[in-house]
């Protein structure tokens, strides 16, 4: 069983991370009734004997040891203390080892350069040390998950700095980044700068990026709420099922329910579903390295549009359970995507369906056949589907589906980002905040802009082949 390490950076990254750990614990608690420290648990947690001041690591062994104390395989980084302190004060405090935390006091001021250049060089040793320690406690490390936002300073700056670091020190370990992109109405003025500068890093150094947009998460959350309130009109006792990992957000942070918590749950679910096949068994296992292998046809085009379904499980008996086929159709509608884009009218380069729960291979095939005619695939990848089947369903649901698509529609998101960037850049607005930082040059802006433009062009070129009739390339001739 392979292990993965989660590196959560900045306010956004840490808040998502917090939800992720809470949901992961809940998921394992529901499948692992005996409280044994088994292989699936060891992929994200380690078992320690906390009686010692330096907790003693207890290996998995035959997978039958009782759980003593669980510690998450995580590194938490933030340049201001508020968020991380709150996490530590809450019920999840015990799950994190104090040596895995790296904090500073003053924050990055929404400035990528401060995060990447200044704090990066300042904390390089510490970060490297923390990661090394966590990595050493893994038997077989397969993947780093980095969580951060793109619009802020710490998440985008320090986050991408860490990405560079990981590529240098652990070149064989995959780097999956879950990045939250700023929506159009973002309240941080310099978010376009931060995002484009960070994008350049992601394009060069990440193996796979799952972009998320806040606006889509809000829409999804509203949709779930609406459906929940509809059913409550029918029956006063019904509500969205309590333990369901989609909506339940208690635990993790003490006190009032924060508005972003429900949205972060959705992202946490994404990560859980992504890793389910490498943790649990199934008829068709999809490991994380298979995802990069199958969904990334060209090195830079590694941005995947993700959609999750079903998003809620109504426990009300009077309403019929949503049919399996409906789940597949939903995953291909705009409302269920975590980023606002329109894959249906653009070109698919590849698509992966990760199914969990009691679903048969024939169901998946049937749905693929049903949905294929309405989707456009690039000519050399007409049957570009990767399917994975994990037998363990998520908590509170009989089955679920995560669809990851490498689709050219993402270029619109990037074009929007580039336009917003350009609006500021052509007036050189706020530039001095960046160039004043040691190590930052004006040339980096144009480099990042170029990289983004190049990326958009590559997608455009591929999309240009859509609709045209393609003759296959002439085959090799053999002497008879």
């Amino acid at each position: 069983m392979t292990q993965s390490i989660v590196v959560q950076v900045g306010q956004c990254g840490n808040q998502i991370g917090c939800r992720f750990w809470d949901l992961a614990l809940r998921e394992h608690a529901s499948t692992n009734k005996g409280g044994t420290f088994d292989e699936p648990l060891s992929s994200f947690f380690r078992n320690v004997d906390a009686r010692y001041s330096e907790p003693l690591d207890i290996p998995v062994g035959r997978g039958r040891e009782k759980i003593c104390n669980l510690k998450a395989r995580a590194v938490l980084v933030d340049m201001e203390e508020g968020v991380v302190s709150e996490i530590l004060k809450g019920p999840l405090g015990d799950v994190f080892d104090h040596r895995q935390l790296i904090t500073d006091v003053s924050g990055s001021g929404n400035n990528w350069a401060v995060g990447h250049m200044m704090y990066g060089s300042l904390y390089r040793e510490q970060i490297s040390e923390a990661i090394r320690r966590t990595a050493e406690m893994c038997d077989c490390l397969q993947c780093f998950f980095t969580l951060h936002s793109m619009g802020g300073g710490t998440g985008s700056g320090v986050g991408t700095f860490i990405l560079n670091l990981l590529e240098e020190e652990y070149p064989e370990v995959y780097r999956f980044t879950t990045a939250v992109y700023p929506s159009a109405e973002d309240d941080v003025i310099t978010s376009p700068y931060n995002s484009v500068l960070a994008m350049h890093q992601l394009t060069e150094h990440a193996d796979c990026v799952l972009p998320i947009e806040n606006q889509s998460l809000v829409d999804i959350f509203n949709m779930v709420n609406q459906a929940a309130s509809k059913t409550s009109k029918i029956s006063s006792t019904s509500k969205v099922k309590g333990g369901s990992t989609v909506t339940s957000d208690l635990g993790g942070i003490k006190g009032q329910e924060k508005p972003f918590d429900k949205m972060n749950n959705i992202v946490a679910n994404l990560l859980l579903n992504l890793t389910s096949s490498s943790r649990f068994e199934g008829a068709l296992n999809v490991d994380l390295n298979e995802i990069t292998m199958n969904l990334v046809p060209f090195p830079k085009l590694h941005y995947l549009v993700s959609s999750l379904s079903p998003l809620y499980h109504l426990a009300d008996v009077s309403l019929p359970l949503r049919k399996l086929d409906q789940m597949f159709s939903d995953a291909f509608t705009k409302e269920y995507q975590l980023i606002s884009a329109d894959p249906r009218h653009s070109l698919y380069l590849a698509c992966a369906l990760m199914v969990r729960g009691n679903v048969a291979v024939s169901d998946i095939r049937r749905n693929i056949d049903r949905l294929k005619p309405s989707l456009q695939f690039i000519h050399w990848n007409q049957e570009g589907w990767k399917t994975g089947l994990c037998s363990v369903p998520p908590v509170g649901q009989p089955y679920s589906l995560l669809a990851l698509a490498n689709n050219s529609c993402i270029r619109h998101t990037f074009t929007n980002l580039r336009d917003r960037f350009y609006k500021l850049y052509k007036r050189k607005a706020h530039l001095h905040h960046y160039t004043n930082v040691d190590g930052m040059e004006a040339g980096q802006f144009s480099q990042a802009l170029e990289s983004l433009t190049g990326l958009v062009k590559e997608y455009e070129q591929l999309e240009g082949t859509m609709g045209r009739v393609h003759e296959g390339a002439p085959r090799l001739q053999v002497a008879s």
Partner: protein, 455 residues
């Protein structure tokens, strides 16, 4: 004579588990009622010798007094991640009828990521020494060693990549042993996106080192499950059962018409692979019925054989939906080579009551075969009066014919298209496979297609 089975990757291991169960179920099943006790015992002994180590109670089977020692499968399990092997071993133990030797496995922690190059250039060499060691142990346990049967898929990374590498190693270390590879051809509509690359690379490499390649196509098996066996929600287990049944019907003991040979790999290869350029074999069996329908069906040898022959000429994968319009014509009258499926050689297995009386002459029709094959060598029959499983009469045809040309052509076409756009190629180059290797593979396969088309 014994066979050593090498199970590679998730697919190979899952099929392996199913195969051993099927073989034992047949040996100890209802078929025994259809023949004399002596014949039954002989059959069971032959099956045990062929697939299992009966005498050796391995250290792990420390049984309580209520349990007997169960036979150990002659198998080597290889996978790059541990989950599937563990599952397979557990299931075997749970059945209580046989088990695996737990030391006969090799696994790593990280998989091959559907990457043929990763499997071939990276994991293969790493695994070589340990796996060859285990293989040697298994071979030494055999009184008389009859050959290797490798089970693998084409689409993934381990079965295909590591499988291709290990087949080459086996060929090097055992140059005089028979090496048969059973491969699973993936669904046409993708299980893995880069499956065409993986398949093309694997096939071209296997062609150099293997003696024969038996092809099972997921699409055909799926149709058999849905249309003939009426299974509603088809799982891979169902498909693996069909594969195991078809394989078992070819590998279970049977004697040739002149009663002096048994159907061991050497015999089969001698008849089926006259020229090393033609190594692709496929299996067709009849009948396929679900347990429930079996009670209401009865079959006659003429009926079964007529269907089977038509299945061969019309290139049908199963007995339903066969095109009866296709007829055999003599060579000079054929306008194009695409009329009926020509064969190089066929071996027919008849299992069940009165199988010796069945008229198999339609299969010896010389028009069925390529002109350069000597008349009497093209077709042979093996009999086994003991019924197979619960089937009163069962016929299987192992053929070396033109049927793989269609799917192979499609596969090469798709892979070539993808290669022309250089999509995904960087993932392979990362692990030391160069573009020339791709081109070599394509060239080999185009040659194979050419050869078969001109039969």
């Amino acid at each position: 004579m014994s066979l050593v089975t090498v199970q590679l990757g998730q697919c190979g291991n899952q099929i392996g588990g199913q195969l051993f169960t099927t073989v034992l179920e047949d040996a100890y099943g209802k078929g025994g009622l259809g023949c004399t006790k002596k014949e039954n015992t002989l059959y069971q002994d032959a099956v045990l010798e062929r697939f299992f180590n009966a005498e050796e109670p391995s250290g792990e089977t420390r049984m309580s007094c209520s349990q007997q020692v169960t036979p150990t499968a002659r198998a080597v399990m290889v996978d790059m991640e541990p989950k599937v092997i563990q599952q397979t071993i557990q299931e075997a133990k749970k059945s209580g009828k046989w088990h695996y030797c737990e030391k006969a496995q090799f696994c790593q922690k990280r998989g091959s990521g559907n990457n043929w190059a990763h499997g071939y250039s990276h994991h293969g060499p790493q695994a070589r020494d340990a796996v060859m060691d285990i293989v040697q142990h298994e071979v030494e346990k055999c009184d008389r060693f009859g050959g290797f049967l490798s089970l693998m898929s084409l689409a993934g990374g381990t079965g295909s990549g590591v499988g291709a590498y290990l087949t080459e190693c086996l060929r090097e270390e055992y140059p005089h042993s028979f090496l048969v590879n059973q491969i699973v051809w993936p669904y046409g509509t993708g299980e893995v996106i880069v499956q065409n690359f993986n398949a093309a690379l694997t096939l071209s490499h296997l062609y150099q080192s293997s003696d024969a390649i038996i092809i099972f196509e997921n699409d055909n098996l799926h149709k058999i499950c849905s249309q003939l066996l009426s299974i509603k929600n088809i799982s891979f287990q169902d498909i693996n059962s069909v594969i195991s049944q078809e394989l078992a019907s070819v590998l279970q003991p049977a004697t040739s018409a002149d009663c002096c040979r048994t159907n061991l790999p050497g015999e089969l290869l001698e008849r089926l692979v006259p020229d090393p350029q033609y190594k692709l074999l496929n299996v067709r069996t009849i009948p396929h019925t679900s347990e429930r329908a079996l009670a209401f069906s009865s079959f006659t040898w003429p009926g079964l054989l007529k269907h089977l022959r038509q299945m061969l000429i019309a290139n049908a994968g199963m007995e339903e939906g066969v095109d009866w319009q296709v007829k055999v014509q003599s060579r000079d009258r054929r306008l194009s080579s695409g009329d009926f499926t020509s064969s190089l050689a066929n071996v027919l297995f008849l299992r069940g009551k009165q199988c010796e009386t069945a008229d198999t002459s339609p299969f010896s029709d010389p028009r069925l075969y390529s002109s350069w094959v000597p008349r009497d060598a093209a077709f042979s029959v093996f009999h086994q009066p003991r019924p197979f499983h619960s089937y009163e009469k069962y016929a299987s045809l192992l053929s070396n014919s033109q049927s793989p040309v269609g799917p192979l052509g499609v596969l090469v076409g798709k892979a070539w298209n993808m290669f022309a756009s250089r999509a995904y190629v960087h993932q392979y180059l990362k692990y030391g496979i160069a573009e020339e290797d791709f081109l070599d593979s394509f060239a080999t396969l185009e040659q194979v297609i050419n050869n078969y088309s001109n039969l």
